[in-house]
Symmetry: D2
């Protein structure tokens, strides 16, 4: 049983963390912070948690976070970089669900996030929390940078192809689609249901912060530079990400069984599921779970591999992956607290 | 650990039962039947269950249901009444999620369901499985008639008022709304997303089978005849029921604290939650859970009580309540396998 | 051809007015105002209007509204009451789509809208713009108060019953449901798709401003005090209102043909359509049109009349009704510019 | 004024044709057929058309279609090929909204549609009804093959690039998304709202009939063989198609202004609208209209062109384009009856 704090308990990743942690047998939630709603009961703020948790939201100052064994930051970008250092010094481990520690290249980070980084040395130390790539480093880490939602879906879909050197890494395409909860809980006209219901569109045409995150992490994983066209779309639904990934086979003469390649790569992974050949993934089949489900095929034998990858953006794309990282960091069964069946329909 | 069979494993109540039972520590699922899809893997049919269950669908004949301790019928109306008798004789207990045993008045049943009942003596024996009313009888029952989704939401909302004799029982109004999964998984033009998406309508204007079920069961619970105007509507969402209930106070001079009345009535109930005064229930706050959440008020002090009641139609309105009934029948903690937090957003 | 100005062209009622007026053969749009977006092209702001209109948004000051024959206010409550007087003096007629002139009782208005009214004498003069009740007064009016969306749906549904004295006017119930566009285009957490998608709830439990509007106008129409329980709900869709209305028959011995009563009342009305007996209205059957569709029945002959009324909240509930009022005020065919078929599916 | 017949008046393309034709000033609808619902009023079947049309559905035999000047087939694939010949002989012109005459290569057609073609000579004669490519041939045609929905969106998006020879035609990718009305009105489990609401998925992984249609018609238009990876997805909304198209620039040294290229290509087209640089198309901006809206960019200057194309699948993707073709065939203004503003929100 460890003592856990959550900084930022009112957004969607914070509430999803709470949904998972209130039932986690190894976790005692000591503090949930919110500057704007301090004093309000957690379950008053999130009525779906009534009866599950007795705490009130507190200010970060009152939360005594340094007494915790682990603190999750479910805060806007640019918050954890100011707080993590002090906690680490006090012996508290940290998982940041925002982007502060995801990119090793500070120049790239500062370009995309529009801030000067407050803790460059911690960027060096931080481990990118994608267990399917960095499990051992995560186990030893003091500071984990929990991956973004799109990067999780895209990286898991492209990894087997790139690791095998099967495709042209310079011409990858990721056509990705997300439900609206991925954009968070801040008031916004663009995310009103009257604006995005019954409609479909691409967004961030000028570039999206998850593109450099994917490129950097794929490069670290497979050692080659990656060229990625990344186009995100908004789907009129609440939860779920689907990534359709396109890559050009470069060894078309070679006989590769894509299905076997993917099944072999992920056979031992508790949270990656490769569907049988010919099956199509759908986001509802992972709703509420920590799973990434994948399908792979080469349509009409035309030399283009199509991978489809689905996750629940709030679980494997955020809070669930953070819990998975915690489980690894503390040496527990990786699936502790994550035994969740998909809510379908 | 008991042996359990599920008759009808391909519809929505069947798949929801599976979602709950694969993680129920006291249950060993021995057979899941489907006449039309026998031979197909359960998890092949329901991809959301991949990795959770290894069985294939079987015909009822091959399922050896009489070897089970308990059989759930998640079948169309008119199925369980033919099969339950044999199972009960073999010592197998039965929970029917359809309507075969819900109405004691056979004439009313035959009028609304358009069939002759095949097992009138079992109708007499069956216990209506609403734990908040019949918990002790359920514990002893061989045969439980699991309530309909609307009757669960409406009955729990009206009970405190009627038990206290506070309202005119002859002029009750239930304006109820359901997500589309309540209508089942059969092919149908009316339930295509292109027909019912982005639209709202009432249906079954000529009368709905759940109206007599509510009236009969309220009468049994409180001993007075009930007059109920019952109007169901279809909401463009997948899961969830909301019932807005209207009743006229008959003792307007008397000082009644409606909030306290409801809280007292349900204080000991593990799956009924009365919201604080002034709070509004919403269906997502019970999504995926076995809870019924209620609010009560008398708007503008005008003598009309408004109760709002929400459930997840597939959980407290079907499969979850069936599991709750099983827990009671076998003497386990009533919440076993039902520790589920709401999936919100 | 008249010169028309629109004050407030960036909200949903403003954009819907534009959709209708760009094709109205008698209208020349001279100015569309927005303080915050002045300078932006109207079609740049509303991409759906590209190619339909060449104007840019202007400040109200630059708009020279007093040169117009008619000005529509599609502004927040409390705006038109400051501006209407000057325009009327200049000979410009005014239709206010907000609530400033809807209630004759200033005390009630000030209670519900939380402001002191700036133009009490104009309140007296204003005509409530429900053509089915006030057509002749509208024709002569300088200032029209365009009805609220719920009041339109509810009033048209109850009028025939109350005019005929058939029901108990002191115990009316309106269970009303609206798509999210009814709440406007302001940034808001509660109206994010992640908050209100895939969920259903009641709101404004403490009372809603449209309740006194309905009561006052029904009283003016039929001369009796009206007691109304009014409960609004939010539907996870963009457009459409459905009102389910419940009234107790008081002359149950008398033989009344409800269907004929409704058909007779609305036979001459171009925008009210009574469905044949047994048919159920649905919001999509009026999507994009200025119609109110109604059904009426007495379920199971139990003495309670159920009326169902659907409108498109942005058309008959706002901009379309405003155009209908304009047509009446200027003596044109009432349907000019409103020949719109429903967009279904 | 011409006499028009519609074969197949109960599906979505049939009802959308009716929505457009009831207000078309040059059209007198003489017959609407449905074998299964003959005798039912058209407006009884489509309540959204109440008051717009007085006809009843008839059998094709009773419809005296050969008396019409033009007959639309809004029928399943494989119907028009049996009937068109007789009508053409009688001097009646024909527009087929299904796929019978879309592919010139009979072998390919028979492979994808699984039937032997009944009228090969008519296939030769038929003109592919994409006005932006074949306007002059359409004007003279007796028989027009109205394009599929996806082919319309994809072809219009890729044409400028291919006509200019700018991109590698052998490696095109179309990641396309459609609302559920594209799948028609037949009862189906997969298209129940409970199955496809709140979820997103790809479908037809093994290949989709629209892929060869696009390839054949692009080849005819630009004279080169086209290699296309085509992946369709189902969006939880009713109407709308978005196509995200990816192509590799082959003359990266050459200075091409993509924005100007697209604007020039479509400047004279009444129903193609190229958005200003940096703007993102959304399906709601064309809802209910006959428009195709396009955006084009080369993200991060990386050599991959991304085109986004949106249409309303039932209008420019079906019935609206059929009306546009009719207008061309009869020499009327091409926009007659198609002056429709987008319904947004």
């Amino acid at each position: 049983m460890i003592k856990v704090g959550i900084v930022g308990g009112t957004g969607y990743t914070g509430s999803e963390l709470l949904r998972l942690l209130v039932r986690h047998e190894q976790v005692d939630i000591k503090a949930v912070t919110s500057r704007s709603d301090a004093g309000t009961g957690v379950a008053e703020f999130h009525p779906g948690l009534r009866g599950e948790i007795d705490l009130a939201l507190t200010t970060p100052e009152d939360a005594r976070l340094a007494d915790c064994d682990l603190v999750f930051f479910a805060t806007p970008n640019g918050t954890a970089m100011h707080e993590a250092g002090g906690l680490l010094e006090a012996g508290t481990r940290v998982i940041d669900l925002a982007a502060d520690f995801r990119l090793k290249d500070l120049g790239v980070w500062q370009h995309w996030y529009g801030m000067t980084h407050a803790a460059p040395t911690l960027v060096e130390e931080a481990v990118y929390g994608l267990p399917e790539v960095n499990r051992e480093a995560i186990a030893r880490a003091r500071l984990v940078a929990n991956p973004g939602c799109y990067p999780t879906a895209v990286t898991l879909g492209l990894l087997p192809l790139l690791e095998a050197g099967l495709v042209d890494a310079s011409r990858l395409i990721a056509d990705v689609k997300s439900g609206v909860s991925g954009a968070g809980r801040k008031p916004s006209t663009a995310l009103l249901m009257a604006e995005c219901g019954e409609s479909f569109k691409a967004y961030s045409l000028g570039g999206h912060r998850h593109q450099p995150e994917i490129c950097e992490n794929l490069k670290q994983a497979v050692g080659v530079d990656v060229g990625l066209t990344f186009v995100p779309h908004l789907v009129p639904m609440v939860r779920g990400i689907e990534a359709s990934l396109y890559a050009t086979l470069q060894r078309s003469g070679v006989d590769v069984d894509l299905q076997t390649l993917f099944e072999d790569r992920y056979r031992a992974e508790p949270f990656v599921d490769v569907l049988p050949s010919g099956c199509s993934v759908e986001t509802r089949s992972v709703r509420g779970t920590n799973l990434c489900r994948l399908s792979v095929l080469e349509p009409l034998g035309a030399g283009v591999v199509v991978v489809q990858s689905v996750i629940d953006n709030l679980v494997k794309g955020a809070a669930g992956q953070a819990v998975q990282n915690m489980n690894i960091m503390f040496g527990w069964d990786e699936a502790t607290g994550l035994a969740l069946s998909a809510l379908a329909p």
